[in-house]
């Protein structure tokens, strides 16, 4: 029996992608845990910033929304939305965006708008917010998902944020000069994208999870030939997450 939660494993699995010098575009929920964990554990010289314009806040408390007052506190700069997006797409910066979605397809395209018909939806979600923008501009996108068949779908009900579009070089042909889906971090494991076809494949599955379970919960065929078991969280990683990143236990 693992002595850590799904959210803890996901935050650490995503955090391990972040390198010193990266500019990390964080959202809320697990994404803010991952960004903060990355900075405190793996990449102290990474910078966390928010689409709302808060750059490098101290994050002594976990923000519950990207406009939370806590993203404005201890920053190097508080800017506006337009300035924030000039950072996401800046040619000199390596920006990694953390997103979440209701649906994802095998090319890492995301839906955060509706289930069902756009005009008469069965379920309406919040909408793009800044997701479509960062998916267009960031150097790479890491998406958090609950790994379920109804979320990993052949065809999205609505394409809010472009990943690898239709695979191959189709993203570039759209006129998007850089970026694309980098990884998908779920409660079962970590997916990446094939270098040329841009199709999703299983890269890691967590301790205690089987490859079959991933296949069963994915709504399209997924290559599992390169899959390896993820290293479990270390005691130190968990300590930092619990004591420093989210001491109020708002998300963990």
């Amino acid at each position: 029996m693992a002595d850590y939660t799904d959210n803890e494993m996901m935050a650490l699995a995503a955090g391990r992608f972040i390198k010193n010098g990266d500019i990390v575009f964080a959202g809320t929920g697990v994404s803010i845990l991952a960004a903060t964990a990355a900075k405190r554990i793996y990449a102290p010289k990474a910078v966390i910033f928010f689409e709302t314009g808060g750059i490098d806040p101290s994050l002594d408390e976990i923000p519950m929304a990207v406009a939370d007052l806590r993203v404005m506190s201890g920053t190097c700069l508080n800017s506006g939305l337009i300035e924030a997006f000039s950072i996401v797409g800046h040619r000199k910066l390596h920006t990694i965006a953390f997103l979440g979605a209701a649906q994802i397809d095998k090319y890492g395209n995301l839906n955060t708008t509706v289930i069902g018909d756009y005009h008469k939806p069965k379920t309406r979600f919040s909408g793009s917010g800044g997701a479509c923008d960062v998916a267009s501009f960031a150097s790479g996108v890491i998406t958090f998902m609950q790994h379920q068949k109804r979320r990993f779908v052949e065809k999205l009900d609505y394409l809010t944020s472009v990943g690898w579009y239709k695979g191959g070089d189709s993203r570039q042909k759209l006129g998007l000069q850089r970026g694309g889906a980098m990884a998908v971090v779920t409660n079962l494991g970590v997916m990446k994208f094939h270098e040329t076809t841009k199709e999703m494949y299983l890269s890691e599955y967590y301790p205690g999870i089987t490859i079959d379970k991933v296949i069963e919960n994915t709504g399209f065929d997924i290559d599992v030939s390169q899959a390896m078991e993820t290293a479990p969280p270390t005691t130190e990683e968990l300590r930092i997450l619990r004591e420093e990143v989210d001491p109020q236990k708002l998300i963990l």
């Binding site: 809320t28 929920g29 689409e51 709302t52 314009g53 808060g54 002594d60 408390e61 519950m64 929304a65 990207v66 406009a67 939370d68 007052l69 806590r70 993203v71 404005m72 506190s73 201890g74 508080n78 800017s79 506006g80 939305l81 337009i82 997006f85 797409g89 708008t113 756009y118 005009h119 008469k120 939806p121 069965k122 379920t123 309406r124 979600f125 919040s126 909408g127 793009s128 917010g129 800044g130 997701a131 479509c132 923008d133 998916a135 267009s136 501009f137 609505y158 394409l159 809010t160 944020s161 472009v162 579009y165 993203r171 042909k173 759209l174 006129g175 998007l176 000069q177 109020q248 708002l250």
Partner: protein
Amino acid sequence: MAETPRKLGKRRSIMGMYPEIDDKLMTLEDTVRRFIKNNSQIAIGGFTVTRNPMALAYEIVRQGIKDIHLVCHSNGQALDVLIGAGCVKRLEIAYGGNGRYAPTCIRFKKAIQRGEIQFEDYSNYQMSLRFLAGALGIPFIPTKSGLGSDLINLEGFPPEIRKEKKVASKKYVVTQNPFNGEDDKVVLLPALNPDVAIMHAQYVGEDGTVRIKGLTFADIEQAKSADIVIVTCEEIVPRSFIRLDPDQNSLPPFFVDAIVKIPYGAHPTAVYTCYDYDPKHLNLYKKVADDDRTFKEYLDEWVYGVKSHEEYLEKIGSTTLLQIKANPVLGYAVGLDRK
């Protein structure tokens, strides 16, 4: 003498305290009566749980304004209350959410699922650029954002309203970069020039200068793009104070048409250095908003049933107001129970 917004508003009774803005200082009631009309296109300031002009939104509801065309990037509580109270006919939006208290705004979600409002989706950056274009007086503005997405592929508004005032003839145009012979596409976004921009700020100087502390979101672009700008604020501050540190100011006086001093005017959303969002109230809202009957009871109790913003704050109670009071140095309420 205690300054209540009600007294402040009776213009002469503002007592000539602020002669430079005497013609702009008014009550919530007068401001809405004068500037917000049925069918107005309104840009709303703030972002999800922060700096929503709530007192003004409540007054719009109380005055029964209908058929508003709301334009915003990411909005939360004000958006949801205005939609829920039936004030909104048309919506251009990037995001309707209230942090963990409503990952998707509840009445917004219902209104769309029931087909009660006309809506069209953009992204945050796109909406911000549209306000910027409006502020700059240019008819459209290019971006790369959204290429390939359904934001661009699917129009939300029905074709028959495309000819109406304040509705763009098309949602987007995708075209070639005219400066580049190669195949390089851009998205053109239509500018926005709303009838009214409403926003809540920490300070307005007695000279009318506006200061937003913390993140400004797209409030400044929204204000500059609009015909009329209404600013509600926590405090009116001396000219000597607001001009001591002009680098911190957000809007010069001549953009502003109406000023309402209304402390806690963004409650239950947050105002940096003043107060945090109110988890208790947002949780209460979450509980009642999902059901038509309990939502109506909520409006009856908290909006229609209060005679003034003071009465509303009395109902919130001093214990809560103290709990959400921000540490003025850190900007938020340290250790606030936010569950």
